[in-house]
Symmetry: C2
Subunit: 333 residues, 2 copies
């Protein structure tokens, strides 16, 4: 039976998500409704992507009983209200990154998911890429020895652009793209950093434009990352172990190729049937399929990130240097 998706917002990333979904079997994934703040936008989006129902409010989408999961593709400043709306309506949620604007907001969203016992996942799509699965495997199997350093970067020259320059629109390099190298480092080490140093350039609006960050994990293991909305960077990553290295050429957040100890390993993406707004967006298919698998398996409790040791289900994952692809979002109930 197909997973029935409700799409919240008719914006650029929602478009790409739909194009990606159509690279998956229709018997597994179907978009059944879309909502936008303007009904006309929703109708146009529905027409473009062959979606049966279109709504002019998110509330109508939340009340639609024939939906299995909501994809939230709005800007981060609206994620708190949207997540609470859908979670309180007992709708599982895949919410675009970043999940929210502050730790306080994230906690409120997580508490809401827990209270309602509903699946919630932040759409860190990179984690579900075949290339990322391979990276975790290579690290876990010791092909490059013990990992000691992670270097990664993600920078685009996209200013001026109000949504990246203004606090009230959720601006800032870290929240917009810096989270990719950050999550990459944390994925590799399977833990939070013990200490962080950062410096950068702050725009007159008070929002970060460029940042360089050092992190130390347990056992003196290091990570360094750079991110910018003002500068185009090489956008590669390097994982250095005691016996070798993994190089991820651009684009480190959605790679088709990785280089393990000098040897290329390729994971080509399917071609889109419509033009995309963002690079390699057909790779959104992997997170969509992951959500389907999580729902089929009944994995719906939010991960207790802050106190993993108090959670008996975390033992096995914590014993690995790299968590499995679910470990940052959900776990067996």
């Amino acid at each position: 039976m197909a997973t029935r998706w409700g799409i919240c917002s008719a914006g650029k990333i929602s478009h790409d998500f739909m194009v990606a979904m159509k690279t998956l079997p229709p018997e597994d994934h179907q978009a059944v409704a879309v909502a936008a703040r303007r009904l006309d936008d929703a109708k146009q989006f529905a027409k473009t992507h062959g979606i049966p129902r279109a709504y002019g409010t998110y509330e109508e989408l939340a009340k639609d009983p024939n939906i299995d999961v909501i994809y939230i593709g709005t800007i981060p400043t609206t994620h708190l209200s949207s997540c609470l709306l859908f979670l309180n309506a007992k709708k599982p949620v895949l919410c675009e990154k970043s999940l929210a604007m502050t730790t306080k907001e994230v906690k409120e969203i997580l508490a809401c998911a827990k209270k309602n016992n509903v699946f919630l996942m932040e759409a860190i799509w990179s984690r579900f890429y075949p290339a990322y699965r391979e990276i975790r495997k290579v690290v876990a199997q010791g092909e490059i020895g013990e990992v000691r350093l992670v270097r990664s970067e993600f920078g685009l020259s996209v200013l001026p652009l109000p949504k990246l320059e203004l606090k009230e629109l959720g601006g800032g390099a870290l929240l917009y793209i810096g989270l990719y190298p950050l999550q990459f480092s944390m994925m590799i080490y399977g833990e939070r950093p013990q200490s962080i140093q950062t410096m950068g350039k702050v725009l007159p609006t008070g929002v970060d434009e460029t940042l360089v960050t050092n992190m130390k994990f347990s056992k003196d293991r290091l990570a360094v990352f750079t991110s910018s909305t003002g500068l185009k960077l090489a956008n590669d990553a390097l994982v250095v172990g005691t016996k070798g290295s993994i190089r991820i050429p651009s684009h480190m957040w959605c790679p088709e190729t990785i280089v393990v100890n000098g040897e290329e390993r390729n994971f080509p993406l399917p071609k889109p049937d419509l033009p995309l707004n963002f690079v390699h967006s057909t790779g959104l298919r992997y997170e969509a399929e992951e959500v389907r698998q999580c729902l089929l398996k009944g994995l719906y409790k939010p991960l207790r990130l802050r106190h993993p040791r108090k959670n008996p289900h975390m033992g096995k994952e914590n014993s690995h240097p790299v968590g499995n692809e679910n470990s940052h979002t959900c776990q067996p109930s």
Copy 2:
């Protein structure tokens, strides 16, 4: 008339320096004497490289009146005593990096050179590479716009190796190889950093094995570098400007190729006539020739690094984002 070199130490880097010198015209450069702590080593070295005189003490080399300049190829812990010996004997000095073990030692050496009015240069050979001259030209001419970020790294997996693990032998990643990305960042910005953040792994001996460092220069311009004696890194560098970038593929400290806005520019090195101990060492020829040119021009006053504005000769150089190749070492008297 040839510049007559005296070689202090018959070690590995002195060997490479001689091989490099032989790629230059013999009418410009001649090694006329070598000294080692053991006379037999000096004699063997002299035989290998066709050097007329061999000494078993550095003092004899210092007293040799038929020498224009000394190349010091000993380990850094001995640089202070060797530099003072030769400078006090009024011998110009090209001293291997790092110039000394502490700021205090560096100041003592600089004061000695000044007192004796004798040329002194730290052998940061990278600065004189044709590729480095091209990098400075590209930056100065604005081919990549205003430089905003420099990322560079130099890491080798060479432990265990006592001289890199023990304080008393001058160990540590920063002093051994980390200075290359550090000097690279400072060359690009033509100034000292205004703030520095660093973290890393320290060996039980108290010596740095791996470090990750952020630096902020004027106008919020950033640099980040990584160095390690325990990990082999990609050893490339990236200079990011507002209009483009320069990529320096491995080896960033002695490149034959740079990539400016996607276009390769090549600067091939001459081939050595004997096996080398270190990568691309025939490139030591460029610093040897620079020393010759400095001596021919009578450039011998040590640069007053700490108070450049008090020095009337520094005005022009300071007005450029990148100093010329002499600016870190010497200046017109």
